[in-house]
Symmetry: C2
Subunit: 348 residues, 2 copies
């Protein structure tokens, strides 16, 4: 019998069942291409990009590698209904942060990219796969991907979400355990995010659905990869493990903070959706965020200014629970090292 893992490797022409997780603000075409060249599967983080920027990043990635890769988007969302007093409170809470960073009072909000335009840009020259989070794709988008030969990979943090994804017609499901850094994929943005760890979520989903399951959350080295393969995952998706690579575009202060990490928190302060990272003054003091994606728009200039200044107290320091195990290696070298570690783990 051919294993599901072998089918996955074959489908994407991989040497090793390692997927580099899409990370907005960290992933670059250089990272994606390096992972692919080393035999893994890179993922472009396109959710925050305009259609023109998506096309440019796709072109750049293809210039750097001829191997297959993934593009990641958020599902379309309905503009949140935010009451005037809620918005006022959120703006008031952010005012001292703008002052701290020398920003003018908040003006017009940046445009939120529209999924309907992004998916057109993505599928103009279809990538091998489209991964997505925060819910279900519209049936039309599933059909578009299928027609384009693009594999769809939804993100689930619970059995119920995985069942809904399978029902919607996705080809694969990424099980995102509670250890994962940055945004929780939880469908309902207002609900307490599911806190179930990768060790239980993966076998629960493997038993609940028929489509292949990828594992994400807390996987940092060959030991972790071997562990999630044991649980029945076809591949391991690693994000935080790549954050310290030279191809990662997070600020140097963020990379440095990862080496000192003791623990992480889940916060809505930066985007309005729960996301895991290091605690700082911003996560402690910003307690009245408005809904996603409005809060994300409200904090964009603050995050950009904090990154430019290296202000570690105002930055979104996304990190998974295993961040202390992240290694500062080029993405290509890291994938090769993970491959060797996995081979060693297989032999134990």
């Amino acid at each position: 019998m051919v294993s599901s893992k072998a089918v996955f490797l074959e489908r994407f022409g991989l040497r090793v069942p390692i997927v580099q997780a899409p990370m907005g603000g960290a992933t670059t075409p250089a990272m994606v291409a390096a992972v692919c060249e080393a035999g893994g599967l890179g993922s472009l983080a396109a959710a925050y990009l305009s259609p023109a920027a998506i096309e440019a990043q796709l072109r750049e990635t293809r210039r750097l590698t001829s191997r297959l890769f993934v593009v990641n988007l958020f599902v379309p969302f309905i503009d949140p209904q935010v009451a005037a007093d809620e918005l006022e409170r959120a703006l008031e809470e952010l005012r001292p942060w703008r002052e701290r960073l020398g920003l003018a009072p908040a003006g017009a909000l940046p445009r939120v990219e529209r999924f309907e335009e992004q998916i057109v840009a993505v599928l103009r020259d279809p990538p091998a796969a489209l991964s997505f989070c925060f819910g279900l794709l519209p049936p039309a988008a599933i059909d578009q991907c299928r027609a384009a030969g693009t594999v769809t990979i939804g993100t689930a943090t619970s059995v119920a979400e995985a069942r809904a994804l399978e029902e919607s017609g996705v080809d694969m499901i990424c099980a995102q355990g509670a250890e994962a850094g940055a945004h929780r994929g939880t469908f309902d943005a207002r609900a307490e995010p599911s806190g179930i760890g990768t060790l239980d979520l993966v076998p629960l989903l493997v038993d609940a659905v028929r489509v292949p399951v990828l594992a994400a959350g807390g996987i940092m080295d060959g030991r972790g990869i071997r562990a999630v393969l044991s649980l029945g995952a076809v591949a391991a998706q690693l994000g935080t493990a790549f954050l310290r690579s030279p191809e990662s575009s997070i600020p140097q202060v963020h990379k440095d903070a990862l080496t000192l990490i003791q623990s992480t928190v889940v916060t809505r302060a930066f985007s309005g959706r729960p996301a895991r990272g290091l605690a700082n003054r911003f996560t402690r003091e910003v307690l009245s965020p408005v809904s996603f994606p409005l809060q994300n728009s409200l904090t964009r200039e603050i995050r950009q200014a904090a990154a430019a200044r290296g202000d570690v107290e105002a930055l979104s320091l996304w990190a998974g629970e295993g961040a202390a195990m992240a290694r500062a290696l080029p993405a290509f070298d890291l994938v090769r090292l993970l491959t060797r570690e996995l081979e060693e783990a297989e032999q134990r």
Copy 2:
């Protein structure tokens, strides 16, 4: 090179690196003996027992098996300083629960067993190992165990706790990931319990200490056992997996609730210490517990009456995050099944 896992198996004469977790209120001498007879390592939960009851359970276990087993205790604690108004509030909050269950108003509190007396009872005929949680053993107790040939196994939920345990002279450390059911082993009862999952905690501890690391939390079947062995653990400790066995002394309504489980919560309502279980009216409404172990004493009659009546809203429904995967099998059969599943996982 002989692996640490092989050394562990050899040390306790095991066929398989499976430890049955000590569970107060669930573990019985019959469960411990069945696990041992099947080739695993059973653990008696002695923390809530009087010295006389400990001796009786040790005798009963030895009558049922000649194999080695573990006894578990809590570390000694200082009686909590509870202000009169705090105690008043806690009693007031519990009053309707006593009424609901037909209990007379709260009278004298049950005696809290003293570690110093329990350890004497345990070591009268020394077991193969003493495992413990909530902190460090006093140096004298470590010395007593060493003199008796009893292996000491401390419980850690973070790297800092593991380092402190190693420094204190324990022989092994059990890494308790956030998925684990019932009490978090966190040293500081007042702190937010560490939420780090088993998938990250095990490799972090394996890298941080030199003593062997056991893995606990979220391990439900052969896939999970193989996973934590991949992470570097010498053995897998399973608790929730045994909760539905006929040897488990939890009420039938608790066993039934496990099959319907959707998610778990961490609550201090029952004991004053954070512990994971199913949410019910008690966890939602009892919000002013006093410190451990006083709250545990205050709720004892309530829990006993709820168990007798099968009142699922007043019971402590301890469960790990993987409880939906627990199987209703005799403990002996479960260990044999886990052994076969592990062998299959090894061959994949």
